[in-house]
Point group: C2
Chain length 237, copies 2
DNA sequence: CGTTTGCTTGATACGTATCAAAGTTGGTGG
DNA sequence: CCACCAACTTTGATACGTATCAAGCAAACG
C-alpha cells in the first residue's frame, strides 16, 4: 500500500491561523514554523492504517480525510470526515498506541505532518496549544455521539439524509440547480458512512433521485431539495 | 424533575489521586481543595438534563453515571457509562453550550461538583490539568468509535454480548457461580445501550439464559460463561 | 478491446420492530 | 397481612426494513 507522496511545499503562511498554531504568539510561531513539514497527498491515499504504530499527527490544511475502521469480515465503517483545521491521529499520538482507525484522503489533501515526539515537545513548550486539542476532541465526541444516536434508532433513509447534509456543510458548493457535494465519493463510501450495504445505499439514493430530492447524474451528487432532505433527516420524513 | 440531594461530605482526601487532581502538587492541591464541593446522589437521579444550560462539571468519585440522549419519539440511547475517575459534563462546560446529553446515576454516586467558572479558573491556573481532560476525552472518543462500529455492522446479540462484558469490566464482582454485574439495570437500560427495543433485548437475554451463558434470576445479572460471551462478542458466535 | 471497477436492479431470507396481552414483582395503604 | 397498583418482564403473532445472493450494465482504463 503506497502512502506518502510529497509534492512541493505550499506557503507555510497558510496555516498561521489554523488551530493549534493560531494559539501561538508571533514569536512562538516563527520558532515553531522552522521545524514544520507540509505535505500534499493525492486523493484516495492512506495517511496511516488501523494498527500502525503511532508515527505522526496531521493537521489538515486543505482537503478531507475519512477515519475508517476495518472489520475482519471485510466491511468498513467511516467514523468521521475531517476537514481543514482538524487534527488527525491525535488518539494514537497521545496514548502512544497503534492508530485505532485508518486515515484515508477523500480528495487531494495538504497537511502539516508532526512527528509524535515533536508534537509532545510542542505541547510541553506551548501549553496553550492543548486548548486546540481539547477543542478538536470535543468536536469529535459530539459528532460520534450524533452518529451513535443515528445508528441506534434511525433507518437508513434518515441516516443517509443526515450524511448528505453534513457532507454538503463540509464541502458543499452552491449551483444553480442545487447544492453540489464536492467530494469524489463512491456508493460504497456512502454506505460505509451510513452503516449499511452498497445495495441499500444505492436503492435509497435512487428513491431520492426519483423523488427529485437529489441528482446523481454525470457522477455528480447534487442536493436539489434541501428542505425535503432536512425534513427526512429531522423527522424521518 | 428533582435532581440534587446533598448528603454529608465524604473525606475529600479520597479524590486526591483522581485525575485531574492527581496532576497537582501538594501545595496546589491544598489550595484547590478548599473550594471543592463533594456531593452524593441517590440511584436513578439526573445530574443534568439534555438541553440544560451548562452549570457544573462532575468528577465521579464513586458510582456510575449513564450519558443518555433522548429523542422526540420517546426513545433513549445510552452513549456511555462513566465510572470513578471520569469527568461528566465536560463538553458543555468547555464550549459553553447546553448539555448534549443527560447524566443519570445508575447507582449511588459521589462526585466532585465544579461550577463552570471555577473549572475554567482552575484550568487557567494549573494548565497541567488539561492533560487529564484530554485523557478523558480520548477515552470517550475511543469508546464511541467502538460503539459506532458495533451499531453499524453487528447484530443485537453481539452488541449485547459486548455490553455485558463491558459492564462486567466496569462493575463486575466475582462470585462462585460467575461474574455478577453489580448495577441495578432494567431491560430497558440494556436495550438503550444496545440500540434496540426492550422486547428484543429480553428475547436475546432469554436465549442466553437458556444456553447457560447468563443467569438472570432474583433480579441479578450474572455471566456464567465468560468465554462463550467473548466468542459471541468477538466473532458474532 | 477486453478487463476491471463501480453502479444498478431483482428475488429472497432473515433479523428486528411493532402491536398486543398476560405474567411477575415490589411497594403502598387500608 | 392482604389487596391493589404501577412498573417491569415476558411471550406470541405479524409486518417491515435491510442484508444477502445473483446477475446484468456502464464507464474507466491499460
Amino acid at each position: 500500500m503506497p502512502t506518502v507522496r510529497t509534492s512541493e511545499e505550499p506557503a507555510l503562511e497558510t496555516i498561521r491561523n489554523v488551530p493549534p498554531f493560531s494559539m501561538l504568539t508571533e514569536d512562538e510561531w516563527r520558532e515553531v514554523v522552522r521545524t514544520l513539514t507540509v505535505r500534499t497527498y493525492p486523493e484516495d491515499t492512506y495517511l496511516f492504517f488501523e494498527g500502525d504504530p503511532p508515527s505522526n499527527l496531521y493537521v489538515i490544511v486543505q482537503g478531507h480525510v475519512a477515519l475508517i475502521r476495518h472489520t475482519l469480515e471485510g466491511r468498513d465503517v467511516v467514523l468521521d470526515v475531517m476537514q481543514p483545521g482538524n487534527m488527525v491521529g491525535e488518539l494514537a499520538i497521545f496514548e502512544g498506541v497503534p492508530y485505532s482507525s485508518s486515515g484515508k484522503t477523500l480528495d487531494e489533501v495538504t497537511a502539516v505532518v508532526i512527528p509524535r515526539e515533536r508534537f509532545h515537545q510542542m505541547l510541553a513548550q506551548y501549553p496553550r496549544m492543548a486548548g486546540a486539542v481539547i477543542f478538536d476532541l470535543t468536536r469529535r465526541v459530539r459528532h460520534l455521539s450524533d452518529l451513535v444516536q443515528s445508528l441506534a434508532i434511525e433507518r437508513v433513509e434518515r441516516r443517509l439524509a443526515r450524511i448528505l447534509l453534513r457532507l454538503a456543510r463540509i464541502s458543499g458548493e452552491h449551483r444553480d440547480d442545487g447544492l453540489l457535494i464536492n467530494l469524489p465519493l463512491t456508493r460504497q463510501d456512502l454506505a460505509d458512512m451510513a452503516g449499511t450495504t452498497v445495495e441499500t445505499a444505492i436503492r435509497t439514493l435512487s428513491r431520492m433521485r426519483r423523488q427529485g430530492i437529489v441528482d446523481t447524474s454525470h457522477g455528480h451528487l447534487i442536493i436539489r431539495d434541501v428542505e425535503r432532505l432536512v425534513r427526512i433527516a429531522e423527522e424521518g420524513e
